[in-house]
Symmetry: C2
């Protein structure tokens, strides 16, 4: 019972450093909980001459086969991030009979189903708790603890960078460019923030959540996606006057075999639990037929929380190895149609600027009506009587996305009106 | 692969009805997720002549051996509640080689460690996700998803009845007797509400959480316990003026091998996540060295949420049975000292009534000081100059429970002062 369980690492950056540190600090505890010690063997790095805390020079390698091919390694942790070469390395490790634990949202979102099939064929496990929600337990709870439910809706805040930015905009009345600069200064935003602010990162995570929650395979590019770059301080002011805040909400909803998945800035009422999830926190709300509604909230990123999620998967595999349990990789996907943006219904918030003259609003309202868009409210804020233009917000009842797009194209053609911003409203 | 997995039930009341209904509604989905159909076989009831929805008369029995002894039954669900005869039946089922899924907090809190050992010896599993937090996944996340963490604190609202009552007191300014009557009227409180309002139910659940979070066995009667029956409308008024609300908080904290576990009405600041958990909702907050802080929130009771948790355990066992995986029941308990109430430190809120004359406060402050109790603030509310007595609240810094008790006994002996209520404050 004293032979160590060998662990190899692909990548030893931020999260990798957290994993190495936790493995050292927790060595005794982990050995007790697993029944055998864990041994960190080789780590693939780009530059093997650069020293890494907790790793000896002879453990570092630039050759992936030194990690995957090591006969003493049973579990490979993949922390390279990005698609290439991570996808290929994961597949090679599975084919070599290694269990794989990954934090790679992009690879799992794009190739999860096929990699799980490879794992199954080679009688090993592929686990990815850390790919969504950082330290929040959500992958395994969906796979296991909520499995008796018919889950119909998942609503999540799963990008810490944008949630930090939107929280600052809501609380300080700051503009987009200012909060982006602040996020850069604090290291919350990448030098190129595109993946975060355009909702790409969140779309990967939502695709993974949909697979787990609904047992439906959806590609990340099928997720309806809108970034936060067009939000202005005035949108937060108007939302607040409507009793709402604005969050980058990732939403998946399955009904009658049709899946609607979207990542977009969304107005949500102050009373909603997700409205109170602020700063870099993440949260995932799951709704099912038995449980009703359950919420998971915690740190969505950071080396230590993410390392905790990675190592939970590692310990799970290790415990099975100790007692000789067979792997269980069973995900059964059912078929579903994914709704295109134009077929999708939502309530909307539309900010416009119009000439301050009679008949403008009537023209807009008529155009919307002709396209079957039902207006819920029209609100003019801080109108000055002699201003040449005025800003106003129209909110709609549930409206078809395609019809709204056509209506707004027509309205944008009017000389008297400019469409400013169009945001979804949670209903 | 088409042979059914046989399920027997002990008890077919509220939660049992939820389980039967869910098994019928979800039959097709469960068969797909498990790989074989689930078959509900016999159910132990007190009165076999009373019809039960979803169960045929010939499925009902008053003889426990008809359920446990049925060779076609692999999984026994125990939903009798209470200690006797549930504990004995669970043990008999395990000895007969049946996997057992239970929602029984009392039995698991008191006999969990020994029953898990019995299960292990007979190579079967004993699962109890539904015993804490109803539909909230918390047992398995602590056992599995947070296992890499050194968890040091668990803070929870795990009794829906009292949380409903305290929320009503906080929001409506109502008195204890009024909200208890309302809870009775709505069916949230038992005819004899002792187990809920005295924190006994919560102490069972906290003992279970401590075992999972800290790998320490603690008996429920080692939990420091205070009920909510002495709370008055004025306590909520005073707490609000201090920026706090009052919750029945279950707290477990492990440091240097010493465990402090308590269930008691506690002042918590409005900014704390648990302060916003209202009504019959439950929430469990877990703090560990890697994850930082993570929160699980959802319905803590009700037939459908609880049935969802029971069936998650059932599906887990069933999937293992289908692929022939060996059971894994491994919980390793480490030794810990449990702190007695008198050795425990907390901040405190003390409400007193004193004669409206000079020197009273000085006398109280002196007595506290002599026992090493550090006063944080003294607040008099709505004092009238010519009233014969006045009410005031003293809050303390961290104070030793035993010393405070002695000091308050001395103060209560003064002619000029009556000690009204003493509550913990979250620090």
């Amino acid at each position: 019972m004293s032979e160590a369980i060998g662990i190899g690492m692909l990548g030893a950056g931020n999260v990798g450093g957290g994993v190495v540190e936790a493995l050292q600090q927790g060595a005794e505890r982990y050995a007790a909980r697993v029944g055998r010690p864990l041994e960190l063997r080789r780590a693939l790095v780009r530059d093997a001459s650069r020293p890494r805390p907790g790793l000896a020079t002879e453990q570092l390698t630039t050759d992936v086969d030194d990690v995957i091919g090591d006969p003493g390694t049973q579990i490979v942790i993949e922390l390279l991030g990005g698609e290439d070469p991570a996808r290929e390395y994961i597949e090679r490790a599975l084919r070599a009979g290694r269990h794989v634990v990954t934090a790679n949202k992009e690879v799992i979102a794009k190739y999860g189903a096929e990699l799980l099939a490879v794992a199954s064929r080679h009688n090993v496990r592929l686990l990815y708790e850390a790919s969504v929600g950082g330290g929040i337990p959500i992958v395994q709870p969906l796979r296991r603890d909520l499995l008796a439910n018919d889950v119909h809706t998942v609503t999540a805040i799963i990008n810490g960078t944008t949630n930090f930015m939107l929280t600052a905009m809501a609380q300080d009345g700051a503009d987009y460019e200012d909060v982006l600069a602040e996020a850069h200064r604090l290291g919350y935003a990448e030098p190129d923030p595109t993946d975060d602010v355009e909702g790409i990162d969140a779309s990967y995570k939502l695709a993974i959540l949909c697979g787990l929650a609904f047992h439906v395979a959806i590609a990340p590019d099928e997720v309806i996606r809108q970034g936060i770059t067009t939000l202005t301080a005035s949108d937060f002011t108007y939302a607040a006057e409507l009793g709402h805040t604005i969050k980058l909400l990732a939403t998946g909803r399955l009904s009658d075999g049709e899946l609607v998945a979207s990542v977009r800035p969304t107005l949500i009422g102050y009373g909603e639990p997700l409205a109170k999830v602020d700063g870099v926190l993440n949260a995932v709300q799951v709704e099912g037929d038995l449980v009703g509604r359950v919420l998971f909230e915690g740190p969505g990123a950071g080396p230590r929380p993410t390392a905790g999620a990675v190592l939970a998967d590692v310990l799970d595999v290790a415990r099975d190895l100790v007692v000789g349990r067979e792997p269980l990789n069973q995900i059964t996907y059912t078929a579903a149609t994914v709704r295109a943006p134009d077929d999708h219904e939502s309530r909307y918030y539309i900010r416009m600027t119009g000439a301050n003259q009679p008949g403008v609003l009537a023209k807009v309202a008529t155009a919307l009506g002709e396209h079957g868009i039902n207006i819920a409210s029209v609100i003019q804020f801080g109108m000055e009587e002699d201003a040449p233009t005025e800003e106003f917000v129209i909110t709609t009842y549930l409206a078809n996305g395609g019809r709204l797009r056509t209506a707004l194209e027509q309205i944008d053609g009017f000389d008297e009106v400019v469409v400013g911003n169009v945001l979804a409203m949670a209903s």
